[in-house]
Structure formats: C-alpha cells, structure tokens
C-alpha cells in the first residue's frame, strides 16, 4: 500500500514538473496581457485574433509554411523511403549493411551537424535557399525513419504471398500493388506521421536551410520573436490548440490500440 502511494506520488510529481510550463501557457492563453505571467482577467481575445489574421498575419503565414513543408516533406520521404526499403530488403547482405549504416547517419547526427553540412552543400552548389532547400533538408532527416518503419513489415511478410500472386497470373506490378503495398501500409502510415511530426517540430535544420528571403516556419518565427524579447501573445492560444489536438489524437490512438489487444486476447 505504502509502495503504491510512493509510486504514484513519484510519477505524479514528475508529471507535474513536465506539465507545469505547458499548463501555464494554456492558462495564460485565456487572458489578454502581452507579457506571459500577468493575469488581466479572463478573455478569449487572443483566440479571436489568432483566427482573424490581420495583426498576426506573419504568424499565420508561418503556420501555413510549417504545414505545407511538413506535408510535402512527409509525402516525399514516405514514397522515397518505401521504395528504398523494398530495394534494401532485396539487396545482398553486404550492400544492405552498408546502406543501413549510411541511413542511420542522419538519425544519429545531432541536428546542428546535419544543418551545417546541408548548409555547406547548398552554398557550395549555389542554390538559393528557400522552400526547396528546406523540403530537401527535411526529406534528408525524415526518410531514414520511414525506411526503419517500413523495413520490419517487409521482414515480417510471408514471401509465399507473392509466389501465390505470381502463380495465379498477376504481373509483378499487380502483385506489388495488391499484395505488397497493403502489407506495408501500416509501416508507411507510421513513417508518414513520424516524418510529419519531425518536420513540423524541426528548428535547427530549418534555420540553416531556409535562407533570408523572409520565409518563416513556426519554429524560426518563435526564435526570431524570442530574440526580440517576448513571445507574441497569439502563440499561447496556438500552442494550447496544438497541445490539445495532439492530446486528443494520442488518446484516440491509445484507445484503439487497447481495443485491438483486447480483441486479440479474447
């Protein structure tokens, strides 16, 4: 009994520590004060001005850029990574090892090394930095995760399934589309989600590859904002919305997973 209380109080304390800053942001998103920490009465004004645009035009532009870059990078990484995983799966062991090693470099490298190396690449080649370079950079650090989430599906797949499809007269392309892709789909979906979240959360690589043409994502916007000395008040409701959305999504995923395991065990 005492053990149980100690357990829950330790975990509870840690969770309080982890959530205190987020809670403060959420609480103070419901007041108008410019400076975080001042309470000037309940108000939804910040939420209203977040959705009206106007004052926060550059913020909503940054939000759109973040989403567009995230979706583009996640889409390209998923296609590139899935094709690559199928290729890698069929390579000889030695080539497989070599490419897996290089594949793990962007995962193990700290952001800033990836960022500087890509920055040097882009300036050496002389491409002007902007959308294209950011997307390419994001694809670089997202694709390895897609490869890692698709490969296990390939290893788990029953190879007789193709044989069966081919024996029954399917062309290799048809066998790929009707037999292989459905098997890979869960891996592709989790790869896509992972790539998207990595992309929208990225700051360092984006900062180095975004150029200085005025293109901003949420991260670089916040960074520039924080350097100027404060947090644009509208970022509070935005963070609150992002947080609650993610919370709800994760709870749904979790519930579905629990249901699935329950179905399997019964």
């Amino acid at each position: 009994m005492i053990k149980k209380i100690l357990t829950s109080s330790y975990l509870g304390l840690l969770l309080v520590m982890l959530y205190a800053p987020i809670l403060i942001i959420i609480v103070f998103s419901f007041t108008e004060a410019k400076v975080l920490g001042n309470w000037t009465g309940f108000s939804l004004k910040l939420y209203a001005s977040l959705f009206q645009g106007g004052v926060t035009h550059s913020l909503s532009a940054a939000l759109w850029n973040t989403l567009i870059i995230g979706l583009t990078a996640a889409f390209i990484s998923t296609v590139l990574g899935t094709v690559a995983a199928i290729g890698i799966f069929n390579l000889q062991q030695r080539a497989q090892k070599a490419i897996s090693l290089v594949n793990s470099i962007p995962i193990l490298n700290p952001d800033i090394i990836t960022a500087i190396s890509l920055f040097l690449l882009f300036v050496s080649v002389g491409i002007s930095q902007g959308y294209t370079t950011v997307v390419l950079a994001h694809v670089t650090f997202c694709t390895p995760y897609v490869v890692l989430s698709v490969l296990p599906r390939l290893y788990r797949m029953n190879p007789s399934l193709y044989e069966a499809a081919l024996d029954l007269g399917a062309t290799p392309f048809l066998a790929l589309r009707r037999v292989m892709l459905p098997e890979l789909k869960p891996g592709m979906i989790s790869g896509f989600i992972l790539a998207f979240t990595l992309s929208i959360d990225d700051f360092v690589v984006t900062l180095f590859t975004i150029g200085n043409e005025g293109l901003e994502t949420i991260s670089t916007y916040i960074y520039a904002d924080a350097r100027k000395g404060g947090l644009t008040p509208e970022l509070r409701p935005l963070s609150a919305i992002i947080f609650v959305t993610v919370l709800i999504l994760l709870i749904i995923i979790n519930q579905r997973a629990v249901k699935k395991t329950n179905l399997k065990t019964t």
Binding site: T7, Y10, L11, L14, L15, M17, L18, Y19, P21, I24, I25, F28, G37, V83, A84, I86, G87, N90, L91, A95, I99, V102, S104, I107, L108, P110, I112, I113, I116, S117, L118, L120, L121, L136, T140, Y145, V147, L148, Y162, L166, P172, S190, I193, L194, T197, D201, F203, V204, L207, F208, S219, I222, Y223, A226, S239, I242, F243, V246, L247, L250
Partner: protein, 266 residues
Amino acid sequence: MRRKIISFFGRRRTWSIPYAIFLLIFVLIPLALIVYYAFTSETGGLSFENFRKFMQHPEAINILIYSIGVAMVTTILCLLIGYPAAYLLSRLESRMASLLVMLFILPMWINFLIRTLATVALFGFLKLPLGEGALMFGMVYNFLPFMIYPIYNILQKTDPNLIEAAQDLGATPRQVFFRTILPLSIPGITSGIMMVFMPVISTFAIAELLTINNIKLFGTTLQENIYNGMWNYGAALSLVMLVLIGITSLLNTGSTAKASEEGGLI
C-alpha cells in the same frame, strides 16, 4: 516459377538506387564538405589554420568543456530521475502504464522552443531567477522523456521469470535489483544516455533563452560562426563535435544501432 520469382526480386533490388544516390548527395557529400571546409583556409588551399585558431582561442575551448559538463550533468540527472520512473512504469498494470508513458512522451510533441519559453515563463511566475539553475531545469525538462522511454522499453520486455528465479534462489530485493534487473536494463540505459548526451551538447537556443544570453553552449558558437560567414572555422568546430560524437558512440559500441531501432519514439 522459380525464375519468375528470381527476376521479380532481382528487379526489386534496383529500387534502392534512387535512395542510395539521395544519401550520397544529401548525407555523405555534405559530411565530406564539412571536412573539406575545415581543412581549407578562407583563401582556399589546404591548411590547419582553423584548428590552430581553435587551439589558440580559449573562449571556444572553454565553451566546449562547459557544454560537455552541462551535457554530463543533464545526462546523470535524467538517469537518476528517469530510471526510477521507468522502473515504476514497467511494474504497472499494462493499460495504466501505456497511458502514463504516453503522458510522459506527450510534452515532446510540443515545439521545444515553446516548451523552453514556457519554462522561462514558469521561472518568471515562481519569481525564480534565470541562469544556471534554470538552464539545468530546462535541459532535464526537455530531455527526461528521452531517458525514460528507452529504459522503460527494455524493462518492460524483461522476462519476469528471471526476476522470480532470482527471488526463488534467495536473493534479497536489493540483490534482485542490482544483480538481475539493472544488468538486464543496460541496453536501455546506454540508448538513453546517447539520446540525452549528444543532443544536449549541440543544443542551441535553449541556453540563451534560459540564461538571458549569459551562458553560451557549443551549438551556439557553431551557429554564430556559420552565420557570420566564417564557414571554414565553423566547419572545423563542427568536425571537433563530430569527433567527440564518434568517441561517445564508440564508448557505447553496439548500443548505437539499438538506440536507433528500439529507442525510437513511435
């Protein structure tokens, strides 16, 4: 039939070529560029000038040593706080555990700049001064989930029969922990250390925000040099960091591959 399958797989192998080319252009060549820039002077031509500058520049060396110190303290704190949490989580009933683990991971889905600014707000709210203490809190706050998750993952997969066997053979709870559970969880600990130590050395922005620009970490030095157009010197500093990371990974030999596979957050 056999030939059909062989040709089917034979052609699939070529699917890895686009990604191999992509990795060459966006991973290997950029890393080679860091080395190239590091060993050339501003005017071009092979030189060790950048490294000489680094050795004669006590400020940069001090920042590097300080950053390693911050990273070590952060890693130790995360381990001391995170291990008990991971252990307690792994003892919980599975449904409760998966919910709590999700709660521990959730804050990571918030942009780390927003999280850091929220920490700044928390310190302001509690009327605590910003500085070294805030920096350590912010680092532990940002990286604790990266320590908890891999350790939890390993502990959860540990065969409970081994623990029971130890108990049956007369081990005291203490012996059970130090002789059975702890050794079994070492892969989780090493991947946790990798996932905390390396990113901390290279962070930038967190330190400036939490210490009002009073403390600079190595990542900031890197970024400032590149931003001020000192690409060669910046590349040399990046190379120093790469070597440092190489050494850390070698010290954790074997666990790196595991860290990327099992330590992944999805």
